[in-house]
Subunit: 501 residues, 2 copies
């Protein structure tokens, strides 16, 4: 056994470590279809837990789910010029609706479509077209709808969970009678994402508007939550867009107001995707594999029976089942504790290491000696693999919710401390470039630099060659007005500069 | 107000009645994308409840969820000859991966793919290719995976929920070491579907194998559950396929057995789709709109406050909220009762009719006079719209679960009685053709004819011109061997003949 279950380690080769964690935790793999991934059961179970929490939060904020077509006619995309420009280069295009076998037994596309269809890269245009039909009067507003769906953006350099041609996401689309209400909605959903990221993913995020050149194509304002990965890079973990009346005008989405006047709606859209799984990996995983925040872990407690004889097996399993039943009756984060017994007939060491690599928060070993003493041996995923605490069965049942809570909070605090350690306030553009060093370097690439910068093309022009960008202008936190270190223009507060995924 | 909320009625024009029920209940509508529907919030909420129940049943039978690519390379489809033949005529084909604006501002597909991709019509081939990589030894078996996904089968004559180019479904795909185990799985999932249909959808079904020409392309055996709609037609509501080694051979899905020999896997696949929403409509809806079985109803109890003055409003709403809280604390079908208060400021009559048309099982009206008497006025969706029962608040809270149970059971019994009334046992092919009458007739089109028929092309040849087919050969029920009324061949039991969707 090497020192660590994952090779290379984060320090040795971060991108390759990431791939190896995914492989070791059996989360996903590349499919034979270029750029498309297969999300394997363990990875998908994590997504299901994320979905369940987010879906509840969306419904609590008044949204309903619906489902819109996978295909978008080209004429719909053409209506919003910036939107087309943003997505045209990465669209999967359906041009035919049947296949025929030719003389050599090869399938040939036939049945050419009059108008090609794009596989949705996002659904503003098709959903907008439906809203335009549904909305007549102010009484029909607001429309607050979300959809869980797959989307396709052709990727030349795919990376599992981070950039794939197809990915799963949710996209909220809302229409409002006033600008104020739409902005309020945009910020409400940004807050939902930030709460979810910090409370459930144990991932601290900075939320704020993006500079102009980083906006969603067609948006008036794009807000994002930005998290720091363990290599110091930023990952945009969710976005909420205030679309103004841009899409409403492109789609003729109008309503008659209380005064009887005909007005264009104000719309928003917001989304998070399976990219969040990548974010969780790069925030919490270590050189032994995945580390899951308990709130999204498919299994909270893995019980591992240890036995040699058949007689031992019967007695140990009985004890395991008793523990399972007791745990199922106790609760963590408003739901029953998720517990499993691993009864597979494989080497105990392999079993333990599999659950370490898969990130299970708590492991409990029960062997014949434990039966005699009435105790169990408890290991936490946030402690070294060999560290164990012995406690009585009853004590473990009683403290399991508290241990999970500790683990959850500990991960958040650790991530927050990492971010603080790798964040600086800088006052000149030279110090910024110096802080980040060369773009192709190994190890932690700087982190977050908080810098006074104007939302100006001159800033991007200086940052881009160094693969740097302004991630967002934080909405919150201790800060003050200043002067842009590039343009000399006045700024309201500092922006966050980083390398990013 | 006409006699009925839906026009035309079932008797007047069944297909048009179906469309009007969907419109009146606000379930779905055609999108501007040919053949693709938009599932609106009320329709999608019904699907979410179906999904939640099925997903639990799949997990209880040992399955895990995962996600596989939307796209399938043509070369994968080519591998299984029958499979290609079955799906080639209805495939959406992606041929390009980007768009460019031409001189006239029109988008033109560019970036031609070396190998075109098909939007999955079903996923046996792509999932099989992954399983072939994952499975090495008998220790890796069985593989029991399900995916919730969208699929596309180009439809020339789309009908909401029943036949749409894109639809939502689940597809289970399993691989086993033995033929027996795979057959057992096929029948287990058929049983899961039958239980779900009868217990949750209150829709009686007949389960059994389909004749050869009705099999899934590439399957050794296809089993289905068949339900009778209110026009007497059969609707195939779910299928479970025993694929033998056909797909395993096409995909080189092999394993080394306990004895060390290399063997092909035995596989199954099974699925149900949003078509089930169409099945529920056509089984239970009446001339006033949708009627929802409580187990899949998004709202069990709709509370309707009645008031004129602001003072009345305050008092009535307080009482409604108290009732809501009490109901939320009681349970139906292992979950809290789903209750909503409709506080919208619209005409009371419009409100009531909306909930009738949307199929809400129980409506409760509370007005100022009820406050005085401490009573509520309760209406059931399975009784005439104007029928009301007055009972005390406490009595309603106590009996609500029982009322829902009664409603659920009543719908099943009514549907079963309808099916029995429209089922016959016939002994000659002439009597079969006579029973069904002309294919274009109005009203109930015969129903189910139980007839001794061999699984032989001669049978299909006689039935097809009359738009009739053998739906399945029932696995259960009182029956005996006989002689095929077409071929004279011996039969083990009767088959079910019907017109179908």
């Amino acid at each position: 056994m090497p020192d660590h279950a994952i090779s290379p380690t984060r320090a040795e080769d971060y991108p390759e470590w990431y791939q190896q964690v995914i492989r070791a935790a059996d989360l996903a793999e590349q499919s034979p279809v270029r750029g498309c991934m297969v999300i394997k059961p363990h990875g998908y179970a994590i997504w299901e837990h994320m979905q369940a929490i987010l879906d509840r939060m969306f419904k609590e904020t008044g949204h309903q789910n619906a489902y819109f077509p996978l295909f978008i006619p080209l004429s719909y995309l053409e209506k919003e010029a910036q939107h087309v420009e943003g997505f045209a280069k990465e669209c999967a295009v359906v041009t035919h609706h049947r296949l025929e076998l030719n003389a050599e037994g090869k399938l040939i596309p036939t049945g050419k479509l009059e108008e090609p269809l794009v596989v949705r890269p996002t659904s503003e245009t098709i959903i907008g077209a439906m809203y335009a039909k549904w909305i007549q009067s102010w009484r029909d507003l607001p429309v607050l709808i979300n959809q869980w769906a797959n989307v396709v953006r052709w990727e030349m350099r795919p990376r599992l969970f981070l950039r794939t041609a197809e990915f799963l996401w949710q996209e909220g689309h809302t229409a409002h009678a006033t600008r104020e209400e739409a902005i309020e909605e945009t910020l409400r959903m940004l807050e939902v994402y930030a709460t979810f990221a910090e409370r459930d993913l144990a991932m601290p995020v900075i939320k704020g508007p993006k500079p102009a050149q980083e906006r969603f194509p067609g948006a008036v304002d794009t807000y994002s939550i930005e998290a720091m990965m363990q290599d110091g890079k930023a990952l945009q973990a969710g976005t909420s867009h205030f679309l103004g009346q841009n899409f409403a005008k492109a789609q003729e989405m109008k309503f008659s107001s209380v005064s009887g006047a005909e007005e264009y709606c104000w719309t928003t859209s917001w989304g998070v995707s399976t990219r969040l799984i990548g974010a969780v990996i790069m925030t919490h995983a270590d050189d032994d594999g995945l580390v899951l925040p308990p709130r999204i872990a498919p299994t909270h407690v893995m019980i591992l029976p240890i036995h040699r004889s058949e007689e031992e097996r019967t007695a140990v399993l009985e004890c395991c089942r008793k523990l399972e039943a007791d745990l199922l009756a106790s609760r963590f984060a408003d739901a029953p504790i998720r517990v499993r017994i691993d009864t597979r007939d494989i080497r105990g060491g392999d079993k333990v290491w599999q659950h370490i690599k898969q990130g299970v928060p708590l492991r409990v070993e029960i062997g014949p000696r434990d039966l005699v003493s009435g105790s169990v041996s408890v290991s936490r995923r946030d402690q070294p693999p060999k560290q164990r605490a012995s406690m009585s069965l009853a004590e473990f049942v009683q403290t399991a919710p508290k241990l999970l809570e500790e683990l959850q909070n500990g991960l958040l605090e650790k991530a927050r401390a990492f971010r603080e350690t790798h964040s600086v306030r800088l006052a000149t553009i030279e110090s910024v470039l110096d802080f980040f060093g060369p773009a192709e370097g190994q190890g932690v690439q700087g982190g977050f630099a908080h810098v006074h910068l104007a939302d100006d093309p001159a800033v991007a022009a200086i940052l881009e060659p160094h693969k740097l960008s302004v991630r967002c202008i934080p909405l919150e936190g201790d800060d003050e007005p200043g002067i842009c270190v590039v343009t000399g223009l006045p700024t309201v507060r500092r922006s966050v500069v980083a390398r990013s995924y």
